[in-house]
Symmetry: C2
Subunit: 312 residues, 2 copies
């Protein structure tokens, strides 16, 4: 049986794996990115780990990495969490060292393909994948094909404008979904709440450590009213953003991933509620909204799926 | 050479035509819908006109009509501007009477295919068509194929939420693009302006006739400040909505049609300006934004394009 190598490059962690073509993950190695090392050193460690995993029947390597990148050229262009990756010639270097065809896509597209082949997206032709964690990203599969768009920029669902005069987003726009409903946005709202009069347990916690979206969720589950308002407002915006995607694309299924997206069943319930209140022109009873299934291995399965999808 | 019949059903006007397969419009008949007549009478007149146009070498009939409808069943479900069309069995009736295969789609999808084959959408694989007039509708072509989505509901770009607490839309949602940037929305804002203190020529005009978006545009072109604010705000929202579609789908080209969309070059300029200020993750220099080309015949060309696209 054929084997595939998979490489998932994140800002804090890198995972390498070997898959059988039927989807079985045979071996997995992870190591910290230590991104301050820069491209040269990191790529050396990646190559040495991948060489350990490579077998004689390995036919290709799939890579999912933070973008922006050029999938065709195989270059990575300065992702915020990978300092020094300026036009990093990732594919060329990997192909030279491993003597394998290498296929690269950004992490959200890779995860989308991963869920499509092996997770919650199995069995449909029109799929939207959305990952909600620090940021909000996504991917679209239309008629069984990943939509790349211009220079692999399709599926940037986190950067639709939801509030024209809303908070500034990292991208430069105002009121993006990501600036309203991501983990970063939730943490920002929590910090803003510290300056207000209303009592909240977040004020206690903020003395010990920097507030994150996880604190907000924890406080909400403990009954904190301020935290609940912050969380629910963010989920309301998330529902609006997903409703917009459904209205435009009318997909068969929407798969929600990421640490915020998967933080509890109530997230999916809330999204469905908002979509039900706002989407009238798409028969929403025909659009499934489900949590992602691949869990923490989504990056590695995604990288494998990129190779499986591209390698002929 | 093969011939195709085309039928464009609108709330005020119905057009029938015969096309050569190379796209030449040989004959055209139009008559008022007189929608109060109801389905039975209207369909009889349609059939009698189409029978006059049918030649021996006619191979199929394409239909574009107001929706909602079921393209597969060929039924039309009570469009607001076609009273009494309750589950109207349009395809069956046309097939029986004309003895031709009949292909039906909603008017926005038909117009999208029309521009794709014969107008401003020629030569691309990924196209967004958006029509801005009384309402806002659209269609998406991905990799050369019209995206239908669930029950032909894809491309309802006018019903994305732009202002979560915005004005009520006809669809039931709040703050839809259509409720902010359509002709109806512009007319509503003009009527609201009549109640305010600021002087505007619209107050004069409103004494003579009901204000429409056309009045607002005319007043703006005459230098009326209030009218300019109304118009520009609407175009700002239109730019935001189009920016959202670009962010999600990353198409090759966006074609803008409809009476508002085509009211002047400044509309396209303004849309490009807003997109430039808001879309950072899609390389917008690779996304063309252009006016539609088919003019008043877009409905008929669209209906023909539906047949051309579906008939094998």
């Amino acid at each position: 049986m054929k084997r595939y190598l998979a490489l998932d490059i994140g800002g804090t962690k890198i995972a390498c794996g070997r898959f059988r073509e039927d989807g079985f993950l045979e071996e997995k190695i992870t190591f910290p990115t230590k991104s301050e090392r820069g491209y040269e050193e990191i790529s050396k460690e990646i190559i040495s780990e991948l060489l350990k995993l490579k077998t004689e029947d390995t036919v290709a390597l799939g890579v999912g990495t933070a973008g922006p990148l050029d999938r065709i050229k195989g270059e990575v262009y300065s992702p915020p969490n990978l300092p020094g990756w300026n036009r990093a010639p990732l594919r060329r270097d990997l192909e030279d060292a491993l003597n394998l065809p290498v296929f690269i896509d950004n992490d959200a597209n890779a995860a989308c393909l991963g869920e499509f082949f092996f997770g919650a997206g199995k069995g449909v032709r029109d799929l939207v994948y959305i990952t909600v964690s620090t940021g909000i990203g996504g991917g679209l599969i239309i008629d069984g094909k990943l939509l790349h768009g211009r220079r692999d920029s399709a599926g940037e669902v986190g950067h639709q404008t939801i509030i024209p005069d809303g908070p500034l987003c990292n991208c430069g726009n105002k009121g993006c979904l990501e600036a309203l409903a991501s983990g970063t946005a939730i943490a920002r709202k929590a910090k803003e709440a510290l300056l207000k009069e209303e009592p909240t347990i977040l004020k206690e916690w903020a003395k010990r450590e920097e507030l994150t979206a996880k604190h907000v969720r924890e406080a909400m589950l403990k009954g904190d009213v301020v935290a609940r308002e912050i969380w629910e407002e963010a989920m309301e915006y998330l529902g609006i953003g997903i409703g917009n995607i459904i209205t435009i694309v009318s997909p068969e299924r929407v798969v929600i991933g990421g640490s915020i997206g998967l933080s509890g069943e109530d997230v999916i319930t809330k999204i469905k509620e908002v979509v039900g209140k706002r989407v009238f022109l798409v028969p929403i009873e025909l659009v499934e909204i489900v949590p992602a299934k691949l869990g923490e291995n989504v990056g590695l399965y995604g990288a494998f799926a990129v190779a499986l999808y591209e390698f002929k």
